[in-house]
Amino acid sequence: MFNLEPFLDLPLIWYSLIIIAVLLYVILDGFDLGVGILFPFAPSDTCRDRMMNSIAPFWDGNETWLVLGGGGLFAAFPLAYAILMPALYIPVTLMLLGLIFRGVAFEFRFKAESSRRIWDYAFHFGSLLATLMQGMILGAVVQGIDVEGRSFAGGSFDWINAYSVMTGIALIFGYALLGSTWLVMKTEDATQDWARKSASYVLGYVGLFLGIVSVSMPLMKASIRELWFSLPNVFFLLPIPLLTAALFVLIWRDLHTGREYRPFFMSIGVFLMGYLGLGISLWPWLVPHQVTYQQAAAAPESQSLLLVGTAIMLPVVLAYTAYCYYVFRGKASHESAY
């Protein structure tokens, strides 16, 4: 039977692919959700129309990366999927409900007249709830999950504590940064001015929360502390916090010198750095401190089959995703587009 195991380290490749899929989701749907988080604070309905139009052609494709992350986890690491999903039953369900309200708001808002306000709020609170839950899931997972045998062994509410609430709020500010810098890039005039102000305001909070997470992670687990602060690791890892700090300074400057494109891409850079730091701290766990990516790996035949499809399809997907962003390049208008 078809098997690439003798030639490739399949679990490692799939671990990387899942990490990339989740990262793409966080960045791409991150700015969509960020726009939703900022939505009710926009100065006018015209601004809101522009904000919505700036992401309407993309949100569906962006959200698909979440399905790839979830589906990919199921396909490549079924054990991790089978442990994490029951453990995160409630936050995953709430996230899905949030995404439902956020998603239908796009279609309904364009059609609504008198009830438009309702869908404005469905869009905002859906985005807010989904983001809060994603952040709390992150906080719960890094703290660890009770496992016995091949199953989750904890309680339904293990995921709620002060730390996960903190990471939830942190992600809200993180996505708001992506959303506001996206709007700086994709809108003009009053909307852009407002987005610029929001971005500089949000930037401070992002820095604060990134600091808290960076300090708390090593404090939580001795192994993480050792990883970051022992020699010679410290020299290899030092560029991550330094680069992050540099990005913050640059975003701040760009927001005050009228640059339109760079703040968005540097905000992505901030996310990349945070993600990298997190990934290094959690390596090689899929369920932290319980199940590694090797232990959770699906049969090599299964990973091989899907890898062939991924090797062919992923570049194609990325190409036509890029094409769609190209088709809808330029500033968003406030007029109903269809």
Partner: protein, 467 residues
């Protein structure tokens, strides 16, 4: 407060509810996407703006339905893990790659080009726009291919082995993907989605004709829908029959439940109606046609048909559900075929578009496809119980180690959310229908009437395209 409730039952209800809600939208959008592609092709080919106006009306309805399908579909991709984690762990090696292929080959395709289809009118050429429509239509079909393959494998599993660790391992991918029931289920379902769409479109067309509105558009809608009723509805009967024979071969208990037959017998009767009583292991008040069941299932008047008593009680599916759902599905199928016959007769008498009673009939059948699709899925999914993977894994062994409380609460949350979303979706679709095609263009545009001065100028491209 929910501790007395069985978590497995709650998880089953939750899955049944969320998947039933979800399937309504793909059942509509698969057919609608293909139809939109046909409309756009006709428009590009003939330059007849009526096609474009119909397209533009229905693409908005498509967007609403597709959006609801997407958000309810994402729920499904997580439910394997949240409610059925033991199943996910054991079958992940086999089903994981199939679902992975669905995401990679279909979901991205649909989601990305949907944006071009909806918002790309004045950003890409008409040809590219047509390509986007065709790509979205293909995406919906590819998606159906993978998910129906996965479902069919759970019905008729093959190409795997049971490992020492209790997990399932693939041994032959082609056997997994093209498992015995897959070709039949795929054909039956795709045709079902086409018929569902046809009867919705036909019903709306009939509504406009009855109201004497948008008559040019309504004739195209009703006409195209009736072409489907004439040719495709009988085809569906044939496909359903073949699917049934395949089920008889691989899942005879399901067929026995569909037929309401308890005793194994030669020359088995066809039970038209009756009340299957699982307690007493009999079908009460049965109205039967002698020997017809044997004739249909074995193509022989005295062929042997297995009865439900062949299986111990704990391996029988819930018979009444399967029995009645099957009758609803077949009954609607028959009404669809009858519609086709009536349409043909009326067409030959040149009264297809002017017969009021036929307009009422078509309006009444507007939701028929949805009911038939749901009933059909009830037959096949309830009919394979008590197994989640037929003869390999029982549903009761598949559930997550989650208590009743979170399942009951999340079920309630899904019911409320879906109720709100569905209500709003139906409301907005109804408003789009009430508005009709070319509502803005009727007074001017291509109809030779000068444009009123206060209307904003519209971009007019080749072929009289209104944006």
């Amino acid at each position: 407060m929910f501790d007395t409730l069985d978590p497995v039952l709650l998880a089953r209800i939750q899955f049944a509810f969320t998947i039933s809600f979800h399937i309504i939208f793909p059942a509509f959008t698969i057919g609608l996407a293909s139809w939109l592609a046909v409309l756009e092709w006709r428009w590009l080919k003939t330059g007849n703006v009526v096609y474009a106006e119909i397209y533009r009306m229905w693409v908005k309805i498509f967007a609403v339905a597709f959006g609801m399908g997407v958000v309810s579909g994402i729920v499904m991709s997580f439910q394997f893990g949240t409610n059925w984690s033991v199943f996910a762990d054991k079958s992940g090696n086999i089903l994981g790659p199939l679902l992975g292929y669905e995401v990679l080959t279909a979901f991205f395709l649909e989601a990305s080009f949907l944006g071009v289809m909806l918002f790309g009118w004045n950003r890409v050429s008409p040809r590219m726009h047509f390509a986007a429509t065709v790509i979205v239509a293909c995406g919906t079909l590819i998606s159906a291919f993978w998910i129906l393959s996965a479902n069919s494998w759970m019905q008729t599993p093959q190409g795997f082995r049971l490992g020492d660790d209790g997990l399932l391992y693939p041994t032959d991918w082609l056997a997994v993907v093209f498992n015995p029931s897959f070709p039949y289920r795929f054909a039956h379902m795709i045709v079902a989605t086409y018929l569902t769409t046809a009867f919705v479109v036909g019903g709306i067309g009939a509504f406009y004709l009855w109201r004497r509105k948008h008559e040019k558009h309504a004739r195209v809608m009703l006409g195209m829908a009736m072409i489907m009723a004439v040719f495709v509805a009988p085809t569906q009967l044939l496909l359903g029959d073949l699917h049934g024979l395949n089920t008889l071969e691989h899942q005879p208990a399901k067929v026995a439940a569909m037929e309401g037959l308890w005793e194994t017998q030669r020359g088995a009767p066809l039970v038209l109606f009756g009340w299957p009583d699982q307690e007493a292991q009999t079908t009460r008040y049965a109205i039967e046609i002698p020997k017809l069941s044997s004739l249909i299932l074995t193509h022989d008047l005295d062929g042997e048909v297995k009865g439900l008593k062949e299986w111990p009680r704990d391996e029988q599916p819930p018979v009444a559900w399967v029995f009645w759902s099957f009758r609803i599905m077949v009954g609607i199928g028959m009404l669809m075929i009858l519609t086709g016959v009536m349409a043909l007769v009326l067409y030959l008498r040149k009264r297809l578009f002017t017969t009021p009673w036929f307009q009422y009939w078509c309006m009444a059948l507007t939701p028929s496809g949805f009911i038939a699709v749901l009933a059909g899925w009830f037959v096949t999914e309830i009919g394979r119980q008590p197994y989640i993977i037929y003869n390999v894994m029982r549903t009761a062994e598949a559930a997550s180690p989650v208590g009743s409380q979170p399942i009951a609460l999340s079920l309630a949350a899904f019911v409320v959310t879906y109720g709100v979303v569905f209500g709003a979706g139906v409301y907005y679709i109804a408003r789009l229908i009430a508005k009709g095609p070319a509502a803005e263009e009727t007074a001017y545009g291509d109809h030779g009437v000068p444009k009123p001065p206060l209307v904003a100028p519209r971009v007019t491209a080749k072929g009289g395209e209104h944006v």
